[in-house]
Symmetry: C2
């Protein structure tokens, strides 16, 4: 007896069939080629690591979401990676600890986690990214934002948006002109996260109310943010954001949401989220951070192009295909492939080029449309 | 206190650093491009599946070597894939069950297993392959061997060897001219596997002794095999091998080891193993088989290029790199990248192009060697 559910995949996991796999491969190549052209060298960490080593570098963020299992060899607990960034941080701190800085590294691979989230129920994602190790300066941030946009452009994303944020904004203001005790600070952060004006006032953070309105298109929002900051403690930050914005002007719609912290648990002074037309959620995010363990400064971004793949896959061209009948000239076929043709060779006389998706056939030594 | 071992990876798992990752990426692209040019469409199965579904399709072979863990969501047992071929078989039997045959599919991805083997202690491998679904004919076998050789050639493998085998040879002979009862048949297979002439005679298989000598360079070994087979039950097999050999003649050294079964637990009438100069173990294997569950005929191969990557990585060129000093012309830099240059932009005046691995620098608008 056959169990009809036996071939189903676990929830949140799926196969990429040809159109989707072709789109994913094209997008991955395009993104990696852009990173490569900007001097980023690929590294490939393994799928599995010691759970302890991986969790430690994740600063405890979402470590409960790791698929974990005991290694029968070492009898230690292993984890399937859920984020390649932390693995690249480990490589920077170990195998490439002595390589010159700034060091540019890129990566691409599958990551998995126990639970997806509401916006993305997937439990496996393609993650592609770049890390600029040894610097978290404005110049590093500007380069990383530029490379991220270029990677999305090359992948075919349209109308790219970049939303800037200042992950440590509340701390900076609370340590300076708008003082808060530790308890109120936590409450203010919480209310800003939910963008709840009433809650913010109730929590004792009315001085922070203007932050809720210093959002939107970049230049205007940056001006509003500057206006909040009478003491000038944000001057260097706002100047930095403007320099980054100038670098990518015209290539993306720029917005500012200075108190946004969601997804920026690792980031220090600068964070950004990437969007594109027709793609529901964020396509990626990045920013400045410190590598877990060594505390080395770094700036980077991660792209999660699965939704972009889904959007473009229907339009993905599978290439002109040339049907080669039984007895075709093999030398000619080699030449066609070298010329960029995809060929489909008949195995029997019954094979029908058109049924097999061919657009052309090699008949009497001539390429003829089907 | 820092545990000095905390950054070590589990036994058999490793990072690919830039030279190695560049070689792996180049080899993967080259192999996939060859498969694509022969009409093979990429599919991407997930890293994880239900253990039951995966193990069933593996016919119980090496299923104990799967990394397994319970899915907290479904409370069912999951497994990390150790072989993409069985996943492609599942896709052929489900998502692509109604696609026209013969159907050509390709794949590339990481696989993992609990224990490596003596020849390869790795517990994670890159697996790249192609499956021709819907046929296990001689024409299918010849195409698959040709594509496998072309993929290795494109990846830079030198002096490729292909070793043919007939996985069901003993059964064919024992059901025909050289009868054996079930018990003796098993013993004869075992002794042939270890190539033990004395053991073979003792086991009652002296009629099978000539098989041990029908090995070596293809045309001669095929003649010896034909000589064993007075009744002609192997005629069609030997003819098939000769047709396959003719198809790839001159592109690889061809050998025959007709009773070799190791690694061919899935294969039906035809199997082959791929080797290349300078690479210790086999680079891949393939053959004809039936897809688990549906019993559909198929022919395919899997390549495991990790050893090839290790061999070529030292020679892997990391590309000319152009150092861009502070204040460089960004438009010019974009043009250089479009021309194929890899650029490395200075973040501060202290950045030294030569230290950062650059071969050239953009100085006063001119490309100058460093």
């Amino acid at each position: 007896m056959t169990d009809p559910t036996q071939d189903l995949l676990p929830e949140g996991l799926e196969d990429r069939l040809p159109q989707s796999a072709a789109a994913a491969a094209r997008i991955q190549r395009a993104m990696l080629d852009v990173m490569r052209s900007h001097g980023y060298d690929r590294v490939n960490p393994p799928l599995i690591e010691f759970e302890q080593s991986m969790a430690r570098r994740m600063d405890g963020v979402r470590t409960r979401n790791l698929f974990r299992f005991v290694d029968p060899r070492s009898l230690r607990s292993l984890a399937l990676r859920s984020d390649i960034t932390v693995q690249v941080g480990r490589i920077a701190a170990t195998g490439l600890a002595n390589a010159p800085r700034p060091m540019r590294l890129a990566y691409a691979g599958q990551v998995a986690r126990i639970t997806g989230d509401m916006l993305d129920p997937r439990r496996e994602n393609l993650q592609i990214g770049a890390e600029l190790i040894g610097s978290d300066s404005v110049a590093a941030a500007a380069e990383v934002v530029e490379v991220a946009i270029a990677a999305l452009e090359a992948a075919g994303a349209g109308r790219i948006s970049v939303d800037f944020t200042l992950p440590d904004l509340v701390d900076t203001l609370a340590d300076g002109p708008l003082p808060l005790d530790a308890e109120t600070r936590a409450a203010v952060r919480r209310e800003l996260d939910t963008k709840d004006a009433g809650g913010l006032v109730e929590a004792g953070g009315s001085a922070y109310l203007p932050l809720l309105y210093a959002t939107g298109p970049f230049p205007q929002a940056a001006e509003k943010l500057a206006a909040i900051d009478g003491a000038g403690v944000l001057d260097s930050r706002i100047h930095a954001l403007r320099q980054i914005a100038e670098r990518v002007q015209g290539r993306a719609r720029l917005t500012l949401d200075p108190s946004e912290r969601h997804g920026f648990e690792y980031q220090s002074w600068f964070g950004f989220t990437l969007y594109a037309e027709g793609v529901r959620g964020a396509l990626g995010r990045g920013g400045t951070y410190r590598i877990g363990g060594t505390d080395e400064a770094a700036t980077g971004f991660s792209l999660y192009p699965d939704d972009l793949v889904e959007m473009v896959k229907a339009k993905e061209t599978m290439g002109r295909r040339l049907f080669l009948p039984i007895g075709h000239d093999r030398t000619a076929a080699n030449e066609m492939r070298a010329d960029g043709w995809r060929t489909v060779a008949a195995l029997t006389d019954a094979d029908d080029g058109k049924v097999l998706g061919c657009t052309h056939a090699l008949l009497d030594g001539e390429i003829q449309p089907l």
